[in-house]
Each structure stands twice: as C-alpha cells, then as structure tokens.
Symmetry: C2
C-alpha cells in the first residue's frame, strides 16, 4: 500500500502566488522522504485535484490524505472540496481518501501567525 499526501491550495493567476505552497511541499517532503508529497489546485493553476488524483491512482497510490492549505473554511472547503472528494471516491472506489482540516485552523499555525503579526508591528515601529 502506497499512501500519498496531497496539499490542496486555491490557485491564482500570478505564478508568484504558488511560491510558499511549493516551499511547504518541499519542507514537508523533506520531513517524509518516503511519502509522495504533491500540490494540487482548485482553480487557475495545474494540476487540478481530480486529474492529479487520477494520475496518483494510475501510478499505484492506494490511499491519500488531502490537506487543505487554506486559512479559513469558506465555500471552497465547505462545498467545493466535499463535492470533489465525493466524486473522487465514486471514480476511485479502491482509493482510501482522507481529508484533513484547513491548515489555518490549526492552533500551532495560528500561534505562528500571531507571533508574525506581533513582530511585524514591532519592526514597523
């Protein structure tokens, strides 16, 4: 059984937007060298999640965890992602798909963002 980790992000027109997501993917990959870690997008950037999961399944992956790299749980996570995951489960019945909570809801991430806000205010003083 090969499990993969997919970081799911929104996507944007500006190519520069992807940079921190690519760093996040690379940092996570370094921490888990034996796990395929990849990025997939909701819109505007490639690969899109459904095509990416299709490729992973064809490549022999039998399970995957999707981590939404979003700050808040808006319509994309409350509605779009569950619909996509339902369709993915229907299309790939032998693929075990888990969906984690949004990165921005994690207390340690919130703490790091708080530290950053405090520092940003202090250094601008």
């Amino acid at each position: 059984m090969t499990r993969a980790l997919v970081l799911f992000a929104h996507g944007a027109r500006a190519a520069s937007w992807a940079a921190p997501f690519e760093r996040l993917r690379d940092l996570t990959q370094q921490r888990m060298p034996d796990v395929p870690v990849s990025l997939a997008f909701l819109e505007l950037m490639e690969p899109r999640l459904p095509a990416h999961v299709q490729a992973l399944a064809e490549g022999g992956v039998t399970g995957l965890t999707i981590v939404p790299v979003f700050l808040g749980q808006g319509g994309h996570l409350l509605r779009d992602l569950p619909l996509m995951v339902d369709q993915l489960r229907a299309d790939h019945p032998h693929l075990a798909i888990e969906v984690a909570g949004a990165v921005g809801e994690d207390p340690a991430v919130l703490q790091a963002m708080t530290d950053y806000c405090v520092r940003a205010f202090g250094s601008a003083g």
Copy 2:
C-alpha cells in the same frame, strides 16, 4: 501618536470563513493589549480596508501597520493592495502606513504549516 495594527484578509461569502482570522486578531490583541488590533477585508466581508482606515484616522490613529493574512502573494497583494494603499496615503497624508509581507511567506508560519501537514498525514494513517 497612536499606532494601530490591521490584519487584512480576503473575505468570503461564508461567515464561518472569518473564524480563524478573528481568533488571530484576538490572540494578537492579547499579546499587545495597548495596541488597537482589528480586521479588515478586501471583499465580501465588512469592514473593507478603505472605510476601516478612514474610521481609524477619524478615531485619532496616526499610524498603522497592515499585515496581509494571505498565504501567497497573488494579484490581491501584488496589485490590489498597493493600489489601495496608494489611495489611502493620498486620502490620509498625515497617516503613516506600513505594509508587512504576507503571513504565509514567514518562515516560522511555513514551519508550523509543515508540522501540521506531517501530523495530518500521520494521524490519518
């Protein structure tokens, strides 16, 4: 001189989306009880940044730091925010406005997100 900290976020249709941003504001406010800490949005949620800055200026604030609570530097931060800030500086020439980098570009935030991704994969196993 009264300086304020404004956390600038995208906004969304789903009210639930704002929750982590409100927690971030509250956590930051706890760390800096003497500084006015507030949230303002680009679109879809109130207050919008220009009206919010206007209100702060009318309330006696003489300087502010804007921290973009965005993961990536896309069109909103590369184009929309600079245009808004240029206009704010023109409208409020006595207000000192600093703009920090995006929260998601901070190495410690990226580290916390990496930790979360690793944990999310492990706990789904």
